[in-house]
């Protein structure tokens, strides 16, 4: 997205103005957090990655040549951080395979739902988060993710179906 308003602010940041960067945080943090939440499905991880992305953005802002393109730039940093984390987790899971995992203790419904959301594949979790957290309708989601309207509807529905199936199984305590 073009961000002509950001242009001057980014220029100030590139001259070391920390207060100017605070403006960028205020303007973009919510979206960065939403992207991380959609990708990771976990509030704490999303908080960590969104914060790391904003800090990395500050540290590297002089490298941003197109000053009006702060938003796509910071979102890309956030996405890459999330992908790194997901890859790291995948490696850890692969290493842990074969080891017996002890069942967890009984958890409450909120924890079950968080677990179930994390279990969703990325292509379902991202539109679900956009729909419920960013309150985007299917048409907006389709536009943002560059998919058809019917596919966006389908994915939101599939995410709900999948969540219900996961929660009906009883959540992580019964795995």
């Amino acid at each position: 997205m073009n961000d002509a308003v950001d242009d001057n602010v980014v220029q100030a940041c590139q001259q070391g103005d920390r207060a100017a960067y605070a403006k960028l945080v205020e303007r973009h943090y919510r979206h960065v957090f939403a992207v991380c939440l959609g990708m990771l499905g976990n509030v704490h991880d999303a908080e960590d990655m969104a914060q790391e992305a904003m800090l990395k953005g500050w540290a590297s802002i002089r490298r941003l040549a197109k000053r009006g393109r702060f938003e796509p730039w910071i979102l890309k940093i956030a996405k890459n951080l999330c992908l790194d984390l997901l890859r790291k987790r995948k490696r850890l899971r692969a290493r842990a395979a074969g080891h017996r995992v002890e069942p967890r203790g009984r958890t409450n419904g909120k924890d079950d739902l968080e677990w179930a959301i994390r279990e969703l594949p990325l292509e379902l979790r991202v539109p679900l988060t956009m729909h419920y957290f960013e309150q985007k309708n299917a048409r907006n989601i389709a536009r943002r993710l560059n998919i058809s309207h019917s596919l966006a509807c389908q994915r939101i529905r599939a995410a709900r179906d999948e969540l219900y199936a996961l929660l009906s199984k009883g959540g992580p305590h019964e795995r």
Partner: protein
């Protein structure tokens, strides 16, 4: 499970997202009465929906604290790092050998640039890519001809490219354009090819697939509006997002039919997705004439696919009168005649119906100060009561009428800021039995620029008894830009006149009055 359970379950989800038509809602209700499995499924989906809404609302509640933590972390973090180029340059300058190598590279680059541009002789190009949109804006006539590649397969066979042609006579508000509608599922792809011709007081839609023709009557305002939308469509196809012009680079030149064209290229990656477009434009530097335009696209690491391919992009060429003739071609069935043609309705933003409730956002305008005017109506199809009383006592700049669905505010789409645009009443008009509300929406914080957003979400509330709970969020486009009092008279006053029985807008709705009202509304909002 019954045969139609799968379809019905899609309806349940659509209803939850507020996207179900009344006809489908009826089918859903009828099915649920007789199918216990689907009733159970609907209940389960409802539970998940409630849990998700609560879950994400809890997360949302902590956003301010999270942001404050990030701000503290930034405040206590180290300084910014140097830009890469400076770091590399410093490294180069540290060593005598690398200094010589850099000098050689710079000279070679200079020679390369000289060969590419052929300049230094004072004959530098008169036209660059950034001039092109302006040339088209000023054009009296625009002609575009080429192909659209769908890159689809129909049962294993590649679907052929579809012809595209646009003739727009901006001076006389008339046009002739092709339109292809694609229906595609996993196996089959079908097309409907139409041509729309607007000339004088008629619009003719020629369906080349079904070989028929249909006429509409069209007023001056709509003709002007439709021509405007066609020009915008050409701009969208040719230039996409205007910001791409900053990225265009001259990559070479080519001679076509005796004319030498500069070739300009750029790549634009869409924010938040893997979708990348590559544009190549042939531009004659001395005349600004456009020779050709091609657009490729890809998702992620897929190979590039050709999408738009225009062989003719012309400005101000002579047009044959026969081009805009409204004659039904031989072999085509006329489904009506000019005499029996119905008037075409002014409704570019689409009709939204949920149950018995209807919201019609007719048209929107983006004012130079960032506020938005929206003309809209809402009715409850189950109610026969007149809406006249709802408009009584409304004041200029005061509350909105309590229509069945009230568009109380707008929210920019794709804007990460918190700005909302609460609505105030401007005026209402009457067209037949319909009462149309004209509202002014003024941003309560920093307003995004037109190119920074995709449109506006309409935030609606239901003012009549309904089992819907809340009105689903729907949207409108960015609106027609209104920069001057002339624009205002042409577009806003024109729309109000079009949507009123007496063909006139309320006298107090002027550019100056509306801007003054917006300023008045904005003042108390300022810290």
């Amino acid at each position: 499970m019954r045969d139609d359970c799968h379809r019905i379950r899609g309806y349940i989800s659509d209803q939850m997202s507020g996207m179900l038509s009344e006809a489908d809602a009826q089918a859903l209700r009828a099915h649920l009465e007789v199918c216990a499995d689907c009733r159970k499924y609907a209940e389960a989906q409802g539970q998940v929906d409630v849990s998700l809404t609560e879950h994400f609302a809890r997360i949302d509640a902590g956003m301010a604290a999270r942001q404050a933590r990030v701000l503290r972390a930034v405040a206590s973090s180290g300084p910014t790092r140097e830009a890469n180029i400076l770091m590399i340059w410093r490294r180069i300058m540290e060593n005598r050998l690398s200094k010589i190598a850099a000098a050689v590279a710079i000279v070679a680059l200079g020679i390369g640039m000289f060969q590419l541009t052929g300049s230094f002789d004072g004959s530098s190009p008169a036209y660059g890519m950034s001039d092109v949109p302006g040339l088209f804006r000023q054009a009296r006539v625009i002609h575009l001809q080429g192909w659209l590649h769908y890159n689809l397969t129909d049962q294993g066979k590649k679907v052929p490219k579809m012809p595209v042609e646009r003739w727009i006579d901006q001076e006389n508000n008339r046009f002739r354009v092709t339109q292809t509608t694609v229906y595609a599922d996993d196996k089959r792809v079908t097309f409907t090819q139409r041509e729309i011709i607007v000339n004088g007081e008629y619009k003719m839609v020629l369906n080349h697939t079904d070989k028929d023709a249909f006429f509409y009557r069209i007023g001056d305002y709509q003709r002007m509006l439709e021509t405007y939308y066609r020009v915008e469509d050409v701009f969208g196809r040719l230039f996409g997002n205007i910001e791409q012009f900053a990225n265009f680079k001259k990559t070479g030149e080519e001679r076509i039919d005796g004319v030498t064209y500069d070739i300009w290229e750029c790549e634009v990656r869409e924010t938040g997705s893997d979708h990348t477009s590559r544009y190549r434009y042939w531009l004659a530097p001395q005349t600004g004439q456009s020779g050709r335009f091609r657009e490729w696209y890809k998702n992620g690491n897929e190979p590039w696919r050709l999408g738009n391919d225009y062989e003719k992009i012309e400005r101000d060429v002579p047009v044959e009168e026969s081009l805009f003739a409204l004659d039904v071609p031989g072999g085509y069935e006329a489904r009506n005649t000019r005499e029996t043609a119905e008037p075409s309705e002014l409704n570019e933003q689409g009709y939204i119906g949920r149950g018995s409730l209807v919201l019609d956002p007719y048209i929107s305008f983006a004012l130079c100060d960032g506020s938005v005017i929206l003309g809209w109506r809402s009715v409850d199809r189950e109610s026969e009561a007149s809406q006249e009383a709802l408009f009584e006592g409304l004041a200029w700049g005061g509350r909105l009428p309590r229509l069945p669905v009230e568009v109380y505010a707008l929210k920019p789409i794709g804007w990460t800021g918190e700005t909302t645009y609460p609505g105030s009443h401007l005026a209402y008009t009457r067209k037949g039995e319909t009462l149309i509300e004209w509202s002014l929406y003024v941003p309560d914080g920093p307003a995004p620029g037109r190119r920074e957003i995709l449109g506006y979400d309409l935030l609606g509330k239901i003012n009549v008894p309904s089992d819907m709970g809340s009105w689903p969020v729907t949207d409108v486009d960015c609106g027609i830009p209104v920069e001057t009092s002339e624009d205002f008279a042409k577009w806003v006053v024109g729309a109000m006149a079009e949507l009123s029985d007496d063909g006139a807008a309320p006298a107090h709705v002027t550019y100056e009055n509306v801007l003054a009202l917006a300023e008045q509304i904005r003042s108390p909002m300022r810290p």
